[in-house]
């Protein structure tokens, strides 16, 4: 027969301060653990969502990022003439040859500079990214020194808001529109007319070529054709994969560091739980003796005290998760080591993180409660009753 659950739960209420301190310690550990996982998940989600399944990115072989890549007009022309490229509603081919550079802009809040991506786009480039929508102002007029800024950039950087001007490449550029890219990497970019950008930055070649396939399954064939063409020194990647790869280093760094920290912290919380449970066992020696005398088995006592520790862990886990879920309202902006450019992303709570965090919290309770529970279960009835 098992010890009633209400007995277990009431014990926690009886020692309020101790329960609160122990569960509070565990809640902080779970909070750190969950927020870090949410950060890594948010970054991955942002960059994975940036790509479309049937879009292909072409960059110079082994250049890794668009900024480091360079494709001259001759090679761009060859890529552009691929028969597998889809045709849009207005009859134009959905291919965009884009110059991509970084410029240094000061942040609004701190005034400290960070690198921001400037992308030259064409009308086809807009059609290739249906998730990008203008939310304020208007589109830039082709052939002018006008640009549109992504939501995070407009909010976060000096001179990038609607109607403000930015100075780079010896010109003043007016921000005539702000676009929302649905929480993708494009939110952290500034877009202008591709040909204008080429002239302003005195480039003769493009950085990357993006096109849409008629049929997403043709990717392998197109990739082989491009990479085996002796006139070209390029590599082709699915857009989704291209952006996912760019989040790898930073998201790994965040999750490794965060998991490492959480594990160290959890040692502290486990010790807290162990101290609490040992005290709980010691102060109830008489009760344990009575329960055993009433016929409850050693196993039932073990389960009862382990249950109390697990309940303590669960309480900490739930409080920690509630705190962590409040972080979803925040977004964070930092430099992605791989692209050397600023990227904004938000904390994202996924079902997986909830499950993992709760398991982590229960694990802490279990580890901290096992030895005290075992001590309670091992007590001899006579000794326990005499001690009281």
């Amino acid at each position: 027969m098992a010890v009633p659950f209400s007995y277990i739960a009431r014990n926690m209420v009886a020692r309020r301060l101790t329960t609160a301190l122990t569960a509070g310690g565990m809640a902080l550990v779970v909070y750190v653990f969950a927020t870090v996982l949410m950060l890594a998940a948010g970054l991955e989600k942002t960059l994975v969502a940036t790509g479309q399944d049937d879009n292909v990115v072409v960059i110079r072989r082994s250049s890794q990022t668009e900024v480091q890549s360079g494709i001259d007009r001759l090679q761009a022309g060859i890529v552009e003439s691929l028969p597998e490229i889809a045709v849009g509603a207005d009859g134009t081919r959905l291919v965009s040859k884009e110059p991509v550079v970084l410029i240094n802009l000061p942040k609004r809040k701190t005034g400290k500079p960070a690198n921001v991506v400037i992308r030259g786009v064409t009308p086809a480039g807009m059609a290739l990214r249906p998730q990008v929508k203008l939310v304020e102002g208007r589109m830039f007029a082709p052939g002018t020194a006008e640009v549109i800024a992504g939501r995070s950039i407009a909010d976060g950087f000096q001179g990038a808001g609607l109607g403000e001007t930015l100075r780079f490449a010896s010109r003043d550029w007016t921000v005539v529109g702000v676009f929302d890219a649905g929480r993708t990497g494009f939110d952290s970019e500034i877009w202008g007319d591709a040909e204008q950008m080429l002239q302003a930055f005195r480039r003769t070649g493009f950085s990357s070529i993006i096109f849409k396939l008629v049929d997403a399954d043709q990717f392998e064939a197109v990739k082989t054709a491009l990479e085996s063409d002796p006139r070209l020194t390029v590599e082709a990647k699915r857009e989704k994969r291209f952006y996912a790869e760019q989040s790898e280093a930073l998201s790994k760094f965040i999750s490794y560091l965060g998991t490492g920290i959480s594990i160290i912290f959890s040692i502290g919380a486990v010790i807290g739980a162990a101290i609490t449970m040992y005290a709980s066992v010691a102060s109830r020696t008489g009760e344990i003796g009575t329960l055993r005398a009433l016929g409850f088995s050693r196993g039932a006592i073990l389960v009862a005290f382990l249950g109390e520790a697990l309940l303590l862990g669960l309480l900490g886990g739930v409080i920690g998760l509630i705190g962590a879920s409040a972080m979803q309202a925040l977004s964070i902006s930092t430099t992605n080591f791989q692209t050397f450019a600023e990227i904004a992303f938000s904390f994202t709570l996924t079902p997986r993180i909830i499950v993992v965090s709760l398991i982590f919290a229960l694990g802490m309770g279990f580890v901290g409660g096992f030895l005290p529970a075992a001590r309670a279960a091992r007590m001899k009835i006579v000794d326990a009753l005499r001690a009281a």
Binding site: L17, T18, L21, T22, G24, G25, L28, V29, Y31, V32, L39, R60, R61, S62, S63, Q64, T65, V67, Q68, V101, L102, I103, N104, T110, K112, P113, A114, N115, F168, A169, S170, F201, R202, T204, T233, I254, L257, I261, I264, F265, I267, G268, A269, I271, G272, A274, I275, T276, Y278, A279, S283, I332, S333, T334, T335, F340, E342
Partner: protein, 385 residues
């Protein structure tokens, strides 16, 4: 002698509980120290920078290069005694996971600019005489087991192709904070090759480094340099080496702030554990405290007993935690390799660790001490632990 002995006996009355608490504090204080050291490592580049050097880069961003001809013009600016230049190479050694910094630099002028890179005369000569020669920092060479004379292939990401260098020297750092995980080779080698393959990209330098006659003139000289190139096709931005390095730190600021915040969270966690221990301890001893009072000891004496016990436990854990920080930092530095060039536990960190232990000890004792001091003798004697 009576009081310290009493406190000591009290502290170890519950040996298991005290041991567990001390272990918890050791872990927390060591983790706190490690996290602070990680943050410090980010600033190592800025701290190791010399106030006698300026860095000039394109005003647009580091992605844009400057014409090599600027070197002559910069040298003519009053206050500048010498000029060197370097290009970020950004290549990949064997696999993308082996990240380390590689620079193509202007040979002798660059080595003279950085006296903190210690290179033997023979190695310096061998490096300068060999166009495809390279030098690597001690830490980097040890990580990959390179010896002088080795061939090192690096695949370019910015400059296409696979480039093979011959290691001609391994340099040491003059100070503990000097970065010895960078790889240098000749700018001339890079430039000649690029001239053949992509003539438009030749004769460009990523950054110029200037030595100042007098560090006091830094502001005036940097302004003079930038004015020289104002309204040209490639405008410049000149700042002190420290400001330049801090610019990189600022890029990861959000992450650094998070690490710092988390380093305080661990202290709060251990504070909860410690407060719990002290609350239990005090609760069990109310009758003893009442006895002390009945014997005529003051309320303050009873509170002092609790504070002394709490501080004693916290300091024991704190000092052991500081001691454990060093091996932990070493192990961490080995596992991350060359990503963080300098990794040393600073004196400030140690002071902060000890400060944190004291704070934990005091705050944990506050409520129990208050309760014990206030307890009425009659209630206390009646209380059962």
């Amino acid at each position: 002698m009576f009081v310290p002995l009493l406190v000591l006996r009290n502290a170890f009355r519950h040996r298991l509980r005290t041991t567990l608490t001390v272990i918890g504090i050791i872990v927390a204080i060591a983790a706190f120290g490690l996290l602070r050291t990680i943050v410090d490592a980010w600033y190592a580049g800025a701290n190791a920078s010399s106030s006698a050097r300026l860095v000039t880069r394109s005003s647009v961003s580091l992605v844009f290069s400057l014409p090599l001809t600027y070197a002559q013009k910069i040298r003519q600016v009053p206050g500048v005694t010498s000029v060197a230049w370097a290009n970020w190479f950004g290549g990949v050694y064997v696999s993308e996971r082996n990240f380390f910094a590689q620079f193509a630099m202007s040979g002798a002028s660059y080595l003279d600019m950085y006296p903190e890179f210690l290179l033997s005369d023979a190695e310096r000569k061998a490096f300068l005489a060999d166009r495809v020669g390279a030098i690597a920092g001690r830490k980097l060479a040890e990580k990959y087991g390179w010896k002088v004379g080795d061939q090192i292939p690096i695949r370019g990401t910015i400059y296409p192709g696979t480039w093979t260098f011959t290691l001609r020297g391994i340099y040491d750092g003059a100070e503990a904070g000097t970065d010895t995980s960078t790889f240098f080779f000749h700018y001339d080698y890079l430039n000649e090759t690029i001239k053949r393959l992509f003539p438009r990209r030749a004769d460009l330098a990523g950054v110029f480094i200037e030595r100042l006659r007098d560090p006091e003139e830094a502001a005036a000289v940097s302004q003079a340099i930038d004015t020289t190139f104002r309204n040209s096709l490639a405008e410049t931005l000149t700042e002190t080496e420290k400001a330049f390095q801090l610019g990189f730190v600022a890029m990861s600021e959000a992450i650094l702030l998070a690490i710092q915040a988390v380093s305080y969270v661990v202290i709060v966690i251990i504070m909860a554990v410690m407060a719990n221990t002290m609350a239990m301890t005090a609760r069990e001893r109310y009758s003893e405290y009442a006895t002390f009072k009945a014997l005529g000891f003051s309320n303050g004496f009873v509170a002092m007993l609790i504070f002394a016990e709490s501080l004693g436990i916290a300091m024991l854990g704190g000092l052991l935690g500081v001691a454990f920080t060093f091996p932990m930092a070493d192990a961490f530095a080995k596992s991350v390799g060359s990503i963080l060039p300098a990794f040393n536990v600073s004196e400030t960190t140690i002071a902060m660790q000890i400060g944190a232990a004291v704070v934990v000890g005091i705050i944990a004792a506050a409520i129990p001490a208050w309760n014990a001091a206030r307890i009425r003798i009659v209630d206390g004697l009646r209380a059962i632990g």
